[in-house]
């Protein structure tokens, strides 16, 4: 095999792609169609709650096109970080979508499911065996963090995906996975260079984001040969340039020359980026440097429940007195519910127009405009208590008296009735650490199934 062509449909399954670009990609006869389906960027909620941050109808739309095209070409589809956060409920969510597509479109899919969940006990044992380490600026892991976690997943490397393709999978659905792995799996199965395969995967996992103009909802074709790879966007209005492709290795990573992954790091120090044809870029020099195998673990714990109230204010005296008013509202809340201990709830008033975006990092935390946006937020152990605290803080703030007040009928402009919203469960990261293992293949067995299930 002299070259492998990989079609990256979209940056995250469910973000969409133009049919014309996808068809152009299919015309190049790709050997695999792949997509990353997740990220930890949307925050800990989705992992903790077991919900997808992408929309079911949008995911189905993308996956249906990928699966029907792949069956026509008789090539596999590989999807990683199923359902966004890639834990068991997310993987099941995506499996059910694929199942429905297979049933309705008359497809028969030999499917490899690769869960990425890690039992608490496994993490506790590793912690005691000194096999867990912190990431830069991250805390050390404690046993309490592990025990409090509602779910823990590992970012899988390419190894189990390679095994799934070796086993003849038409469809590989993996739990949480290292983003480049879904694109690198087929090349690694065929013995292509790991450095080039993973660097290509790193670019393709964001689809056309590395093109100009960039897009996370458009297709990109990667062509891997023995000593280089090329990337090319498939919509005529986009092109890759050496700078756009080089710059992509900066994206979301703390070091553009050294990108750590599950079994080593990508060393891109010697990469050379050159134009290839009208709209493509050729890359050479990417190297994979093996290191002791580590999985990145992600875990989330339930922190409480949240209620928020949205309001605006444009009275200049109110805005001038805002800090004292917020302090006064806090006092009234504490005074009105004396049985509540301070550590049983959090009451926040976010001020947009001052430091709503940057908080403690805002260099100019002053109101410069004629109005502010306010978010009154309560987080507590139950939704009922969060409701109570938010409602009381909201009504108190609405009618709070302050020096120089002219607008004695009310302080806040509420855009909605009802004014308060259940934001539901609040999760936070409990685990975001590295786990060192001896055998990366041992922990994540493949579950084989035929889709649609029950059809035989």
């Amino acid at each position: 095999m002299e070259e492998i062509r990989i079609l990256a449909a979209t940056a995250i399954l469910g973000y969409g792609f133009p049919d014309a670009a996808f068809e152009e990609g299919l015309a190049r006869r790709p050997h695999v169609i792949a997509a990353d389906a997740g990220s930890s960027d949307p925050g800990p909620y989705y992992l903790g709650a077991g919900e997808s941050f992408t929309d079911r109808a949008a995911v189905r739309r993308d996956l249906e096109r990928m699966l029907t095209a792949a069956r026509r070409l008789r090539v596999p589809v590989v999807v990683g970080s199923a359902g966004g956060a890639g834990a068991a409920p997310h993987l099941e969510w995506l499996r059910a979508i694929a199942d429905a597509i297979a049933a309705e479109r008359g497809l028969r899919l030999r499917t490899a499911l690769i869960p990425a969940d890690v039992p608490q006990q496994t993490v506790l044992d590793a912690l005691r065996a000194d096999r867990i380490s912190a990431v830069p600026f991250g805390p050390e892991l404690t046993e309490a963090d592990v025990r409090a976690s509602s779910r823990i997943v590992a970012q899988l490397g390419a190894e189990p995906l390679v095994e799934a393709l070796r086993g003849g999978a038409d469809l590989v659905l993996a739990g949480r996975a290292y983003d480049p792995a879904v694109f690198a799996a087929l090349p690694l199965l065929h013995g292509f260079d790991a450095g080039l395969a993973l660097h290509l995967g790193k670019i393709l996992e964001c689809a056309a984001i590395a093109a100009v103009p960039g897009s996370g909802s458009d297709c990109m074709l990667g062509t891997l040969r023995r000593d280089h790879f090329t990337v090319e966007p498939l919509s005529p209005e986009r092109r890759c340039t050496p700078t756009s492709v080089a710059a992509h290795t900066l994206y979301e990573k703390s070091d553009p020359y050294h990108l750590p992954g599950p079994g080593g790091h990508l060393d891109l120090t010697d990469c050379v980026f050159t134009p290839e044809g009208e709209r493509g870029v050729r890359v050479t020099g990417s190297r994979h440097v093996p290191a002791p195998y580590t999985f990145k673990l992600e875990g989330a714990r339930l922190r409480g429940y949240r209620t928020v109230s949205l309001a605006g204010a444009r009275d200049p005296v109110f805005v001038r007195e805002l800090d004292a008013i917020v302090a006064g509202v806090r006092e009234r809340v504490a005074d009105n519910f004396p049985d509540l201990k301070p550590d049983e709830y959090r009451l926040l008033v976010r001020v947009y127009g001052r430091d709503g975006c940057m908080g403690a990092l805002e260099p100019h935390p002053v109101v410069a405009g004629h109005e502010v946006g306010l978010v009154i937020e309560a987080v507590a152990g139950t939704q009922a208590l969060a409701d109570t605290l938010c409602a009381f803080a909201r009504s108190t703030m609405l009618h709070f008296g302050y020096p120089g007040r002219l607008s004695t009928a009310g302080n806040l402009a509420f855009p909605y009735s009802p004014s308060d919203f259940h934001a539901g469960a609040v999760y936070e990261w409990s685990v975001y650490h590295l786990l060192r293992v001896d055998d990366p293949g041992a922990s994540f067995p493949i579950h084989w199934t035929e889709l649609p299930e029950g059809a035989s």
């Binding site: 930890s40 960027d41 949307p42 925050g43 800990p44 909620y45 990431v135 830069p136 600026f137 991250g138 805390p139 050496p242 700078t243 080089a246 710059a247 290795t249 900066l250 994206y251 979301e252 990573k253 703390s254 070091d255 553009p256 020359y257 990469c271 980026f273 922190r303 409480g304 959090r346 926040l348 976010r350 430091d355 709503g356 975006c357 940057m358 908080g359 403690a360 990092l361 260099p363 987080v379 609040v426 999760y427 936070e428 990261w429 975001y432």
Partner: protein, 118 residues
């Protein structure tokens, strides 16, 4: 760099100034300069350094990583400790995508006349 040299805000000298999470505990900021000449000047004289970034963000220098100069993209990468982990209660920017503002105002000297603008 002399007193008389004209200054310009980084926003006028760069094609890209952006921020994003690099995991839940770290913010990563990228500046891609418009011209090779300006990038080389900033790199040579280390005009963007830990101390400058720490002052812009009101952080101790220990919370700022050593800037990484990335020649292939005329880019400087900066890493900061997040004041609060992404998604924790009271945190303001889950994706970390709006933390680049202070960099836009950083004043830098313009390269001397005749510096190739590639």
């Amino acid at each position: 760099m002399t007193e008389a040299q004209p200054l310009a805000a980084l926003a006028a000298l760069a094609d890209v100034v952006r921020s994003k999470n690099a995991g839940p505990f770290e913010l990563t900021l990228d500046v891609i300069f418009t011209t090779r000449g300006h990038y080389e000047l900033v790199k040579r004289d280390r005009l963007i350094n830990r101390q400058v970034v720490a002052e812009l963000y009101g952080l101790p220098a220990a919370d700022v990583g050593e800037p990484i100069f990335y020649d292939p993209a005329r880019a400087v990468k900066l890493n900061l400790r997040r004041p609060l982990p992404s998604g924790s209660v009271g945190e303001t920017d889950v994706y970390g995508a709006q933390q680049h503002g202070p960099l836009l105002t950083l004043l830098l000297p313009l390269p001397e006349e005749g510096t190739p603008a590639t």
